[in-house]
């Protein structure tokens, strides 16, 4: 397979072998089945009453969604074996994302209890 190099010093990508990729394709299919299974489980779990505690339904759904997100990010987006720079970008993103979520939680501390009159 012909490869192209647009600038001087960079290395040329190695040719890809079919057998190696068949293994990858099998893995993608397993991930696909797992995602479909996860979707069905999410829907079914939302019907479980959990003794009337809706918060448990929310927790279960978000745990399953996080598992599905891991599969998409890890395998479809190849984050399971990515370069350090991408991990660096994502570490910053995760830090600010968590901060964003905590801002919402902190807002429930307003106004401070010692300032309220009732």
């Amino acid at each position: 397979m012909e490869t192209h190099q647009t600038t001087g010093t960079a290395a040329v990508a190695a040719p890809v072998h079919d057998e190696h990729f068949q293994e990858h394709i099998r893995r993608y299919l397993y991930v696909f089945y797992a995602l479909i299974f996860g979707t069905v489980i999410t829907v079914l779990a939302s019907y479980i009453p959990f003794g009337g505690h809706r918060s448990l339904n929310i927790a279960v759904a978000l745990v399953i969604a996080s598992g599905k997100a891991f599969l998409v990010c890890g395998y479809f987006m190849h984050l399971i074996s990515e370069r350090k720079m991408i991990y660096g970008i994502l570490a910053f993103t995760a830090f600010f994302f968590v901060g964003l979520m905590f801002l919402t939680l902190w807002s429930f501390g307003d106004p401070p209890s010692f300032l309220t009159t009732h």
Partner: protein, 280 residues
């Protein structure tokens, strides 16, 4: 002048430039959707008990759309794998599937939006409320000028003078359609006809009707714009853009990878939107 490192990796990062670019873009997208998810949490927990809707969206339709999007993710990654293995026919097939699945997703979403814009909440002069889908509306129907009439398929609820458990039951008929009370009310739906003179206010289930619908339309609307944008890019790479296959195969494969990363992100957002908006 050639754009540097479009196919070969930069020595210091070990990545071609477009890959760094797409990940930086996706990082900004995480913050965009993160802000909206954060708003959703704030709106939801601020709502008084019993007034946050449950079951307003059709779960089988939402589940089908989730499966459509997941399937489009596998076809995208298969198209990239076909590029890597230099199989043009397979690439064309899988990316055509991705485009068709994207269109299917948008069609299903449009159907759901249409359902909301034909769903009426009607406040009656006798103090009751009627809720249901539009069957017919006379051309002169106008609540302000008290002319014409409207016919819906739905049910009535009566909040007047109700308190405690009684009020809770009536609220569930509107806000919790997955509760036994809500399901029963929905099953008892029938054709209801009102003259405009009997109505004090009427509105559809648009974003103006409820905070839940405001955040629902904002989140899913923004997500649908991403689906349409992604489909246009993938459509270009499938059609005229695929000429690069012969000219610069490595660079073309990278373009498919970058568009695929965006597409998987769109799928990722939906993985959280679906349970949050449809199930919880």
């Amino acid at each position: 002048m050639d754009i540097p490192y479009t196919s070969a990796p930069r020595p210091d990062t070990g990545l071609y430039n477009a890959k760094v670019g797409i990940w930086l873009f996706l990082a900004s997208e995480v913050m965009l959707f993160g802000a909206l998810f954060s708003s959703y949490i704030l709106l939801r927990v601020s709502m008084p008990e019993g007034y946050w809707p449950h079951g307003w969206l059709n779960i089988p339709i939402g589940t089908a759309n989730t499966i459509v999007l997941i399937t489009s993710s596998i076809t995208t990654v298969m198209a990239w794998a076909a590029c890597k293995m230099n199989q043009y026919g397979r690439f064309k097939f899988f990316h055509a599937c991705t485009i068709l699945l994207a269109l299917t997703f948008v069609c299903i979403k449009s159907y759901e939006y249409h359902d909301k814009f034909t769903h009426y909440s009607i406040k009656l002069a006798n103090g009751k409320m009627a809720d249901g889908h539009l069957i017919h509306k006379s051309p002169d129907f106008n609540v302000a000028t008290k002319t014409g009439e409207i016919e819906i398929h739905g049910h009535e609820v009566d909040f007047k003078g109700k308190q405690g458990a009684e009020l809770e039951t009536e609220l569930k008929k509107i806000y919790d359609l997955r509760s036994p009370e809500g399901t029963a009310a929905h099953k008892e739906s029938k054709e209801l006809k009102y003259a405009a003179s009997e109505i004090t206010a009427a509105e559809t289930y648009g974003p103006w009707h409820h905070t839940y619908l405001a955040i629902y339309f904002t989140l899913t609307g923004l997500h649908a714009l991403h689906v349409i944008g992604g489909a246009i890019v993938i459509g270009f790479l499938w059609g005229p853009g695929s000429r690069m296959w012969r000219r610069d195969h490595e660079r073309f494969t990278n373009r498919i990878e970058v568009s695929g990363l965006f597409w998987h992100f769109v799928d990722l957002v939906w993985i959280f939107l679906f349970p949050v908006l449809y199930l919880l």
